[in-house]
């Protein structure tokens, strides 16, 4: 056991997989000599050399196309898109090329690749460097979508993503890079498509993802002191989605609250609410509620950004109000 930051967990995860499998290669802007704009790839160039750790020009389409072409011909590339907002300039390669090609070729090609990206807000970067876009990826058939909330999960889920034979979108929560957590020693490999119950309660089930997980846990502590005992589920993986764990935990308490950083419309929680409504409606004691960023681009100023993204206070007050009524 050692304490590790979320950003160092990323580089440890990449190193673990590059050490294990020589076909794993890494590419992206400023990831090599500079160690990444978020310092999440520090030391990898020195350790694995310039053939396997490739600094690229500012060419997001070429980065992802290179990863795709390499994945279909025997490599296991890890591509970085620096800020998840930048997916908008290369979404064709993600949504039309990587996601669809296995299906449209009746399985002649497959794409064992990982696209990692700094996702979400909290760093006052303004609208074009802060959006949480995990719901974009979830909307595309053919992509697996993972978003870890802590350093140990970063390593375990990243290893699972690299070893997975299909394309995985790996969303690193920018707001969590500096946070720390205990990480077991040795090789870590987790399983995609598994949610985790982080806290068990009897009154309400809070379902959260990535940067919203620590906030949900903090809110649950305060709520417990006020007499509302909550379960907290970390979704971890949107595709595949562990609906069994979520349905079980929601049925057990009878109330569901999602905490989502993505903007309101068509956020991942909407899909969960629909699944819960269809499959465990009779177990509910009240309407499922979604706590999300409003349907707005993110503002930059501290006061405004803090108001936009679900805060511990907003989670507490929403749940308290709902449980009292």
């Amino acid at each position: 056991m050692a304490e590790l930051s979320y950003r160092d967990a990323v580089s440890r995860a990449i190193a673990q997989e590059m050490d294990r499998d020589p076909s794993v290669v890494l590419l992206g802007e400023d990831i090599g000599a500079a160690g990444g704009v978020f310092k999440a790839t520090v030391g990898l160039l020195e350790r694995f050399g310039p053939e396997r750790v490739r600094d690229t020009p500012i060419s997001e389409q070429a980065i992802l196309g290179a990863a795709m072409g390499a994945a279909m011909t025997g490599l296991r590339p890890i591509a970085e898109i620096m800020f998840a907002d930048f997916f908008a300039v290369c979404w064709d390669i993600v949504a039309n090329q990587i996601a669809k090609s296995s299906y449209m070729t009746a399985g002649q090609v497959s794409f064992p690749l990982v696209i990692r990206s700094g996702n979400g807000g909290g760093l006052r970067f303004g609208a074009q460097h802060s959006q949480a876009v995990e719901n974009w990826a979830m909307a595309i058939p053919g992509l697996k979508v993972v978003a870890p909330s802590n350093p140990a999960d970063v390593i375990g889920l990243f290893a699972a993503a690299v070893r997975d034979p299909d394309p995985v979108m790996f969303f690193e929560a920018k707001g969590l890079y500096a946070t720390k957590g205990e990480v077991p020693d040795g090789e870590l490999v987790d399983t995609l498509g598994t949610a985790k119950v982080l806290r068990s309660g009897t009154d309400a089930t809070i379902v959260a993802l990535a940067a919203m997980v620590p906030r949900a846990l903090a809110a649950a502590e305060v709520l417990a002191a006020r007499g509302i005992d909550s379960t907290v589920v970390d979704v971890r993986s949107l595709v595949p989605l562990d609906t069994q764990t979520i349905l079980r935990e929601v049925s057990a308490t009878g109330r569901m609250f999602t905490v989502e950083e993505n903007p309101r419309l068509c956020g991942w929680g909407a899909e969960l609410v629909s699944i819960v409504a269809e499959e465990c409606f009779d177990d509910l004691d009240g309407p499922p509620l979604r706590i999300t960023t409003p349907h707005i681009p993110l503002p930059s100023a501290d006061a405004l950004e803090d108001l936009a993204i679900p805060s511990v206070e907003r989670i507490i007050s929403t749940i308290e109000r709902a449980m009292q009524s």
Partner: protein
């Protein structure tokens, strides 16, 4: 460079192209290779004419983009490439797929949406893929596959595998960002990839010269990426073949990428039943007189190849197309269970437990 002559064995150069700018590769093409080039072109031509008939009968559904008139390019690369090299094609990819040896029945079946199709009917005309023969896919978003081809080339180089990736695309593609990103990165990384622009003078319906800042949409951009400017007669199968050989060899020997601009003309419409009304009559006539198959047949005859030998190639192609048509039409539609297959590499489509 040699001056153009009246000798049929030396092409005059495509209509409207200053012969002085044409790349005239060295070397010569031996007789068996010439026959292979002729055979490839004839097979493509006859296959696509049949595909067009079937489209008009509403048997080929959706859309279909023919490369009638552009066959010399696909044939040249088909003959020049190594068996294991990678082809990346566009929605206009029938000829490029056939060029690598994919069965006519497989391609025809795909066009007709039958289970014998190379993609079991899941891809259709625009997505022909035959990985076993190096056809790594046909892509229908303009420009995207240039980036993917460079990835395959990167992978080959990284793995120490001597394969070369070849990406075919149109003149219109030179104005999209992916083209420029790909050329730059391929040049910086010195990748074994050949980018082949088939300049057929039009994007869909708009003449390329009216929307492009330079005269030669690919070749005039080459210098921006440190590459040679190559304009070649895309209707001269010999010039195309020798140019292909040259660029494949450069890629294979570590010399990095090439960008070829092949001047050609699609004598068909852009897609479907497009009558091509936007094309001036004189232009159509000039290119009709510069048809790659007519030119090549005349050249082979001038070289002493027997007419009967060429006729035999034509007849075999006719009967192959007929067989493919009959086989494809007899093939059942794809099994309905295929709908939910192949999203993931385990063959399934499950997104939840």
């Amino acid at each position: 460079m040699s001056a153009p002559t009246d000798d049929i064995t030396v092409a005059k150069g495509p209509p409207g192209v200053d012969p002085a700018i044409l790349h005239r590769p060295g070397g010569s093409v031996d007789a068996p290779t010439q026959l292979a080039l002729y055979r490839q072109m004839v097979r493509m031509r006859k296959f696509e004419k049949r595909a067009y008939d079937l489209f008009l009968q509403n048997l080929v559904k959706g859309t279909s983009h023919l490369s009638l008139g552009q066959e010399a390019i696909a044939a040249a690369f088909g003959v020049a490439m190594d068996e294991k090299d990678y082809t990346f094609a566009t929605y206009r990819g029938h000829a490029h797929t056939l060029a690598r040896g994919t069965s006519m029945t497989g391609v025809m079946g795909e066009l007709l949406g039958r289970s014998c199709g190379v993609l079991s009917g899941k891809g259709g005309s625009m997505h022909l893929t035959d990985v076993k023969r190096g056809v790594m896919g046909s892509y229908a978003i303009v420009g995207a596959h240039l980036t993917i081809a460079l990835g395959a080339a990167w992978s080959a180089k990284h793995r120490g595998d001597p394969r070369v990736a070849v990406a075919f695309f149109g003149d219109g593609t030179t104005n999209i960002g992916a083209f420029h990103e790909s050329l730059n990165l391929a040049a910086v990384w010195k990748l074994p990839v050949v980018f082949v622009c088939e300049n057929n003078l039009y994007m869909e319906y708009t003449p390329i010269r009216t929307v492009t800042a330079v005269d030669n949409p690919a070749a005039d951009r080459a210098s921006a990426y440190g590459l040679d400017s190559i304009v070649v007669d895309g209707n001269d199968a010999d010039a195309m073949y020798l140019t292909a050989r040259e660029c494949l060899e450069r890629a294979r020997s570590g010399g990095g990428p090439s960008l070829i601009e092949a001047r050609t003309y699609r004598t068909s419409g852009h897609s479907r039943a497009d009558p091509g009304k936007y094309k001036p009559e004189e232009e159509v006539a000039a290119w009709a007189a510069y048809d790659p198959i007519d030119l090549y047949r005349a050249r082979l005859l001038a070289h002493g190849v027997g007419e009967a030998d060429l006729d035999a190639v034509d007849e075999t192609a006719d009967s192959d197309v007929q067989t493919a048509t009959v086989e494809a039409q007899a093939s059942p539609p794809p099994g309905l269970d295929l709908l939910m297959h192949h999203v993931w590499s385990d063959g399934g489509s499950s997104w939840r437990n």
